[in-house]
């Protein structure tokens, strides 16, 4: 998706204005009480949280990578997830002329045992990427096979 802003501005708007552009999605309800008002706590180890109509705050996940104007990675957990289930969202910002290409990859590679929580804060990008690639390739191959 190309957006009319330079990467620095796009990153800023993505993170600081999320409450303004976020669209609640019936299939992906963050909590049973709705999506609420989303907010990034800026910086590495900050959080993506949402304030619900009933005044409660729900933590969607920790920020794993915070590179303004380039890359943002955060943990994504909906209220319906079991305690050890976790997914990860990566957002990339690439300059295209005076605009920015924003791409999002939502990876669900794993469940993370509590004793490996450290891996959460210090992810091993290669491992995660490999698992994510396997997934996509595997599912694409599977789809072709079903189409045969």
């Amino acid at each position: 998706m190309r957006v009319p802003a330079d990467p620095a501005r796009a990153f800023e708007a993505f993170t600081q204005d999320i409450a303004l552009w976020w669209q609640p999605d019936p299939l992906f309800r963050i909590t049973p009480h709705g999506d609420g008002t989303l907010r990034f706590e800026p910086g590495l180890h900050g959080r993506l949280v949402t304030r619900l109509g009933n005044g409660e705050t729900f933590e969607i996940g920790r920020i794993l990578v915070w590179e303004p104007g380039r890359r943002l990675v955060f943990v994504w957990r909906q209220a319906s997830f079991s305690p050890d289930q976790s997914t990860e969202v990566e957002v990339r910002f690439e300059p295209v002329g005076d605009e920015t290409r924003v791409s999002i990859e939502h990876r669900a590679w794993d469940t993370i045992p509590p004793e490996h929580a450290a891996r959460h804060r210090f992810p091993e990008p290669v491992t995660l990427q490999r698992a994510a690639n396997w997934w996509r390739a595997s599912l694409a191959a599977f789809k072709e096979r079903l189409a045969d």
Binding site: V3, V102, I104, A108, W134, L139, K143
Partner: protein, 110 residues
Amino acid sequence: MSAHGLDRTLAALADPHRRRVVDLLRERPYRAGDLAQAARLPFPTMSRHLKTLRQSGLVEEDRDALDSRVRIYRLRSEAMAELRTWLAETDAMWARQLTSFKAHLQKSRK
């Protein structure tokens, strides 16, 4: 979509040996012993992995028609289809979010 089923599928696929098994089974059904050999794992280790895969619904087990002591494993398409649905829904959701994000930037630039 059952969040629990997806959860178990993800957990089952978290292990590289189990992904290897799924890769092998994508070609054809295998006997447990042949899977252990192909993946270069001791038989008891492979049995444990197969149990996890079976519980997740990714594979199913049959008895060999000629020798009922031999178990044959095959991939179940339902669990993979569920994963694919989840991915497609997730992609669609983020596509809508990005469209909204773009509209927001267009508005704020004016």
